[in-house]
């Protein structure tokens, strides 16, 4: 078996998908899972699953083209979700289109929580919208609107 691994990245909110990219089939769009995935030479960290402490976020590096910057910044501004999937397949059986029997070996769904980069490369960080800072329980506090000026006993 000539083991090969392809990556698919989808940016979406709810039922609306804004972008579908794949990084394996160069300069071509492929059809997979009933949708068309355009080529984008992105590179992602490995995917880690486990207890929360061990998995904070992953980064995806993309070329800093106008289109990519626009997509990524909109995703950041509107807290869109990104789903990264790794598929494994036997490249000897075909290397031009996604194989029907390719196996999903890892996936990660995260909110676009950070963007940084240089002039030629932009890095999109996917993480949990469960912010390590700021998300407090209980969620509400006594406010003037709720209770006016409370009594002093």
């Amino acid at each position: 078996m000539a083991r090969a691994q392809s990556q698919y990245l989808r940016i979406f909110t709810g039922s609306t998908t804004y972008q579908r990219w794949q990084s394996y089939y160069v300069n071509t769009s492929v059809t997979w899972a009933g949708a068309s995935w355009s080529y984008q030479p992105f590179d992602a960290d490995g995917i880690t699953a486990g207890e929360v402490q061990s998995e904070s976020s992953i980064s995806i590096r993309l070329p800093a083209t106008t289109n990519v910057i626009e997509v990524v910044l909109q995703a950041l501004d509107e807290a869109r979700l990104a789903e990264l999937q790794f598929y494994e397949f036997d490249a000897i059986l075909g290397n031009s289109t996604p194989q029907t029997g390719q196996r999903l070996i890892a996936s990660y769904l995260g909110e676009v929580v950070g963007v940084k980069g240089g002039f030629t490369e932009i890095e999109m960080e996917l993480g949990s919208s469960l912010a390590p800072v700021g998300a407090q329980v209980p969620p509400r506090t006594y406010s003037s609107r709720l209770v006016g000026a409370p009594c002093k006993l």
């Binding site: 691994q5 486990g50 494994e88 890892a106 002093k152 006993l153």
Partner: protein, 739 residues
């Protein structure tokens, strides 16, 4: 900020399902003192979430709500009636029965409960008046103003005390049998719950607004089943402000759950192997995959043994709350230890009293803590080659690692253990990194920890509450009636308008976030379109540099209209530095970055025909001895608006007499090429025809003729001037487009 560890194994102490030793010990968090002063709410204080559900005689929680409003009045005989408006909980809770409301430890007074508005009808205030022959009670004067109580459960309480009995200021307590209504995972019903998975789901949705797509509801449902079947129920109040992650980390472990993130989704998983029905699995376990030498990447095997000091016998003292139907709980301790060990300590205290109302729950948690600590002897980290397990393994799965160890002495041994998968890392290159915790099993292949936890049960002793003396109850302890909701509509109260609490900020539209696309794209970056409404954001630093050398505005002065400069107008630097040099550039807005030097070493520049459809700006170089060139960075002056003139289309012809139309601009087309110019001087008095701009030509003649002219630039505009100074002259000319 990121905290980076040099060794991932350093995190393993927090993994592997171990419940760490509490950093400090203190009094039970679930304990309530009854005879204390009534507590007032403070602005900014978290609104408590009462989360409980009393089922089959287990659960419920006694709360001591804070007052937001109060009213005090005395009768002719100086009886004091104290009324309090209390906030019970965030959200809607079940109705409270008469038997469940106390002041101090006494069932006294009357009340009315409601949701989403103010309870009761009393007007807050101090209405105490002196009565002859009696001592005037000293009641608080700041009694609150009232609010809307949106989304809150509230209760108006009132009790009257005889003259001289100052118990009107005592704390009101309520025993809550059904807390905040939430969607229950197990029966898909909205109502009170005692399942910690329901509470976690509520907090994920309401505290941090985690999108539904990032919540693994299937694992939450499995967790809800596990805790419910095994009697791990949450009956408590969430009132201490804490980060939701910290709350999860510190709470879920006491329900033998761990929070995980699976494929990026928030999830939970039991810390013990379970059967399909959620019960603890004590029979033989099965493993998902067996790793042998053929899978493991060389030099990736790393084992860490737990120090004996961490495995010494100890007694887990677990605090829990005995909650009988009386409502007032008793804090209990459950001492969990292995037989004959740690009889006199050491003790490790774990406080579950804030939410645990079941002895079995407390004992099983204690058993888990000491069992896990005793039996988990080591942890393992290995790197493996990708294989069939790539698509199947998930955190929490069991795997077997079987390796032959051949020492130099030739004596072979085998490393063959079961492990629980804590963490799995899949790299782009295909290598998989696994972090594993030893999973002890007995001869039946059953989990040792699971068996010990499953077998651990409480003694079942019910401690008396210690209630003695003459009862102070006025209301019956069997009165299950629910008083009528007497609340008024919020609009019936004289409350400030909602908008009075808001400060709405008018948002200023920033520049288009798609780079500088909001600026006229026909201009180079950094340039301003005078005809448009958008301009670059102001740059204070730039302004300071200019102003420091006496430059104001755009730094240029115009001899003509500064908003519509024309060829022939003069522009000059309006300020400058002593010894400075000014250089003028022409910029074609249609060519990104294109600029042409048009004048230098002069402070003025006269616009020419070739500037039409372009802009001009200047750069001022001030002397700077520290610079190798002797001059500092340039200060930009301008640019001018686009130079626009009215031009005629080609082919074009014109005629006149003395004076006539002296100057005309003709657009002959852009790019290289040649054109034909024909003239007629009228036959007697010579006139002068001058062409400039895209072509250069001049002739003074009274006759007629034509010539072919080749453009000297790619510009499109030709300026045609006719000088006919003498009376009686006539002239005409025509010009073609470029060929």
């Amino acid at each position: 900020m990121s905290i980076i560890s040099s060794d991932p194994l350093a995190f393993l102490i927090g993994q592997g399902g171990l419940v760490g030793t509490p950093l400090k010990e203190g009094g039970a968090g679930g304990a309530e003192n009854l005879d204390v002063a009534q507590r007032g709410a403070v602005i900014g204080e978290p609104i408590p979430i009462v989360f409980c559900r009393r089922v089959s005689g287990v659960g419920g929680v006694l709360i001591s709500p804070a007052a937001t409003e109060a009213r005090f009045e005395n009768s002719l005989t100086n009886e004091v009636t104290g009324s309090y408006h209390l906030v019970l909980s965030e959200g809607q809770i079940d109705s409270i029965q008469v038997r469940d409301v106390f002041q101090r430890s006494c069932r006294v007074g009357s009340f009315s409960q409601t949701y989403d508005k103010r309870a009761g009808t009393f007007i807050p205030g101090n209405f105490i008046v002196p009565r002859d022959g009696f001592t005037t009670p000293e009641c608080p004067s700041y009694c609150g103003t009232g609010g809307r109580y949106t989304g809150l459960s509230t209760l108006a309480y009132q009790a009257t005390y005889p003259d001289g009995v100052d118990q009107w200021n005592r704390q009101v307590h309520c025993f809550i049998r059904g807390g905040i209504h939430v969607p229950r995972l197990l029966d898909s019903t909205l109502g009170p719950s005692n399942n910690v998975a329901d509470l976690l789901l509520y907090l994920l949705r309401n505290s941090s607004r985690v999108p539904e797509a990032q919540i693994d509801t299937a694992s939450l449902l499995a967790g809800a089943t596990f805790t419910n079947v095994n009697g791990f129920w949450f009956n408590g109040v969430v009132s201490e402000s804490t980060n939701v992650r910290d709350w999860i980390d510190s709470t879920l472990q006491y329900f033998l759950l761990r929070q995980a993130r699976v494929a990026g989704k928030e999830a939970v998983s039991p810390l013990l192997p379970i059967n399909n029905d959620g019960t603890i699995k004590t029979t033989a376990v099965s493993w998902e995959f067996t790793f042998t030498e053929q899978h493991i990447i060389p030099d990736s095997f790393e084992i860490t043994y737990t120090p004996l000091a961490d495995r010494k016998p100890f007694c887990a003292m677990v605090l829990w709350r005995q909650q009988d139907d009386n409502g007032i709980g008793v804090i209990r301790t459950a001492e969990v230890r292995y037989a004959g060990t740690a009889v006199d300590g050491p003790y490790e205290q774990h406080d579950l009293s804030e939410f645990c109302a079941s002895e079995n729950h407390a004992v099983k948690v204690g058993a888990y803590i000491i069992s896990k600590r005793r039996h988990v002897t080591h942890r393992l980290q290995i790197g493996v080659k990708p294989d069939a397990f790539n698509a199947t393994l998930a955190p929490g799965d069991l795997v077997r690692v079987r390796l032959d160890r051949i020492a130099s002495t030739g004596v072979a041994s085998r490393h063959d253990y079961l492990y629980e998968l804590d963490r799995i890392g899949k790299s782009v290159s295909g290598d998989v990194e696994l972090e594993l915790t030893y999973f002890p099993i007995d001869g039946d292949l059953g989990s040792v920890v699971a068996k010990e936890v499953n077998a651990a049960t409480g003694a079942g002793l019910i401690l008396p509450t210690g209630l003695t003396g003459i009862t102070c109850d006025i209301n019956s302890d069997t009165d299950t009636d629910v008083p009528e909701d007497t609340s008024l509509d919020p609009d019936d109260w004289d409350l400030p308008d909602q908008s009075d609490f808001e400060s709405v900020i008018a948002e200023v539209d920033p520049i288009d976030t798609s780079g500088l696309g909001g600026i006229d794209s026909s201009l180079p970056i950094g340039w301003t379109s005078t005809g448009g409404s958008q301009s670059n954001p102001s740059d204070d630093l730039n302004g300071q540099i200019g102003s420091s050398v006496g430059i104001s505005g755009d730094g240029l002065t115009y001899s003509g209209d500064p908003n519509n400069p024309q060829p022939g107008d003069t522009i000059s630097a309006s300020g400058g530095c002593e010894g400075g040099v000014v250089v003028y550039y022409r910029v074609d807005p249609s060519v990104e970055g294109g600029k042409v030097l048009v004048a230098q070493a002069t402070s003025t520049y006269t616009l020419v025909i070739n500037d039409i459809d372009k802009s001009v700006y200047a750069e001022l170089f001030c002397p700077d001895p520290s610079s190798p060139t002797g001059y500092g960075d340039p200060i930009q002056l301008g640019p001018t608006p686009i130079i626009n003139v009215a031009s005629a289309s080609c082919p074009y012809s014109n005629s006149g007499g003395q004076g006539g139309q002296a100057v005309v601009y003709v657009n002959v087309g852009s790019g290289p090429g040649s054109l034909t110019f024909s003239w007629n001087g009228g036959g007697s008095i010579p006139d002068t025809f001058t062409l400039a701009g895209a072509v250069n030509f001049s002739i003074t003649t009274a006759g007629s003729g034509s010539t072919t002219l080749t453009k000297t630039s790619t510009d499109s505009i030709v300026q045609i001037s006719v000088s006919a100074p003498t009376a009686g002259t006539i002239w005409s000319y025509s010009i073609s487009c470029i060929a």
